[in-house]
């Protein structure tokens, strides 16, 4: 009988854990995780699982006065390295004896997945607290970021109990089935503050901003999405330039590539085995438009169908 009050409290705690957090509390959790990913010094090894594929990467992050510097190195498969700093991000791919360097448009990577100012996410996502868990020997709290509509995937991040650093991130679909997972296998927090030892900054071609007189415009976008980037760039194994636009709600990113086309592009739909990545191609005026992203098909389709040639 004496156990009844404790059982009641336990039940209340569980019920609260499943409830949507009030906005202020939700923002506090998101901000804590976003800040920890950038401002905390850490290094470790994490595993990425997507469908049947798995990849292991090492990561080092150092805060600095000009922001943070991070370095990711693939430990299996083709040697590949990503370096990110306030001045930009580059990918170095080793192909036998040669190393190719490419400028990256974004320095987003695990565990730094959330935008710097995540408050606006609450317009399109609900935040719930989940169970405590243990990852890489550290205790963490699951934080569920659930989409409010069908135009985006959700996430479950496991925030380290003291620092808030995400130790695990799972991208989930509408049925809460995992699409992609990142998990730290080992991680050391607060490991030194010296700058990352890096080679001379590789010389890379900076993409040109897309001209404002865009020949194509997006008549309509899914709720919450806005164009966050528009550049013209050369892509490997492709002749000429393409325009690369990126639409995002802050958490989900969808790319649009516009390439001149002599003959009408055949309408095409592409989907990855897990359904995580979706692609749609169609002809828009004199351009072949390819829309793709780690987003539900309805979002990719809505953007592709909303494109019109500017007259």
């Amino acid at each position: 009988m004496k156990a009844a009050p404790w059982l009641l409290l336990l039940c209340m705690a569980n019920a609260q854990a499943a409830q949507t957090l009030p906005p202020a509390e939700a923002v506090a959790w998101l901000q804590k995780m976003a800040d920890a990913s950038r401002q905390l010094a850490y290094e470790g090894v994490f595993v990425v699982r997507q469908g049947d594929g798995m990849q292991t990467l090492s990561i080092s992050n150092r805060p600095s006065t000009q922001g943070n510097e991070s370095r990711l190195l693939s430990l299996d498969g083709n040697p590949r390295e990503v370096r990110c700093s306030q001045t930009g991000a580059v990918t170095l791919v080793s192909d036998g004896s040669q190393v190719h360097t490419e400028k990256r448009l974004s320095n987003r990577h695990f565990p730094d997945l959330l935008p710097a100012y995540p408050r606006a996410l609450l317009n399109w996502y609900e935040v719930r607290l989940g169970e405590m868990a243990r990852v890489a020997g550290l205790d963490c709290r699951n934080v569920e970021i659930q989409p409010k509509d069908a135009f985006r995937w959700g996430y479950v991040l496991c925030a380290e109990k003291d620092s808030g650093l995400p130790l695990k991130a799972v991208m989930i679909n509408g049925n809460k089935q995992p699409l992609m997972q990142y998990v730290f296998a080992e991680v050391k927090l607060g490991t030194g503050t010296q700058k990352l030892q890096s080679q001379a900054a590789p010389r890379v071609e900076t993409p040109d901003p897309a001209r404002p007189s865009d020949v194509v415009f997006a008549r309509s976008l899914p709720p919450g999405y806005a164009r966050v980037a528009a550049v013209r760039r050369h892509l490997p194994n492709m002749p000429g330039e393409v325009a690369h636009w990126v639409f995002s709600d802050g958490l989900t990113h969808i790319s649009l590539f516009l390439a001149p086309s002599d003959k009408p592009a055949e309408p095409l739909k592409g989907v990855s085995p897990s359904g995580m990545v979706n692609l749609m191609r169609r002809q828009v005026g004199e351009f072949q438009a390819t829309v793709l992203g780690d987003a539900p098909w309805v979002a990719v389709e809505a953007i592709a169908q909303g494109l019109e040639p500017r007259k």
Binding site: A229, H244, K269, S272
Partner: protein, 157 residues
């Protein structure tokens, strides 16, 4: 029965504009003194409206169509029937078809076009997938994709 069938055929022909002017006038004059005939003619008009999509204000239409269908004899063995027209039956069947099509068409669908065929991965898609990795979350290999050719509604291919 034959008389009723003949009348039905005449009403259907009148509605379809298949009668000559004198024949049409004769049928209309018969309708003036025939309340049952006027009721059947009203049903024909209602079914015609349904086929044209003007069915929002037709109370009891389904009931009337079902009653008409119930009046049809149950065929226990296939019998070769004469080529007489059964306009109400055909119209009722068409109406049921339209209703079914309308219900399916009105349901929310994720796609308004059909996948026509599976395709091999287009060679020029891989660079786009790789370039998108700039905004994806890690240095993953380009994902394998399954492609299908699709037909866009209302778009010239």
């Amino acid at each position: 029965m034959n008389t009723i069938q003949d009348n039905d055929e005449r009403l259907s022909a009148l509605l379809d504009g298949e009668l000559t002017d004198p024949s049409a006038q004769r049928v209309i004059q018969q309708l003036v003194g025939d309340p049952d005939g006027r009721a059947r003619f009203a049903e024909y008009c209602a079914v015609g409206d349904l086929l044209r999509g003007h069915h929002a204000d037709l109370p009891g239409l389904t009931g009337k169509i079902m009653a008409a269908l119930e009046e049809e004899p149950t065929v226990l063995a296939p019998v070769r029937r004469d080529g007489g027209r059964r306009p109400l039956l055909w119209l009722a069947a068409a109406a049921c078809g339209i209703l079914t099509w309308g219900l399916w068409g009105g349901a929310p669908r994720q796609e308004n076009y059909a996948a026509l065929a599976s395709l091999r991965a287009p060679t020029d898609v891989a660079p786009f997938l790789a370039a998108h990795q700039d905004y994806a979350q890690a240095v993953l290999d380009v994902p394998e994709m399954q492609f299908t050719r699709i037909s866009l509604s209302g778009e010239t291919r």
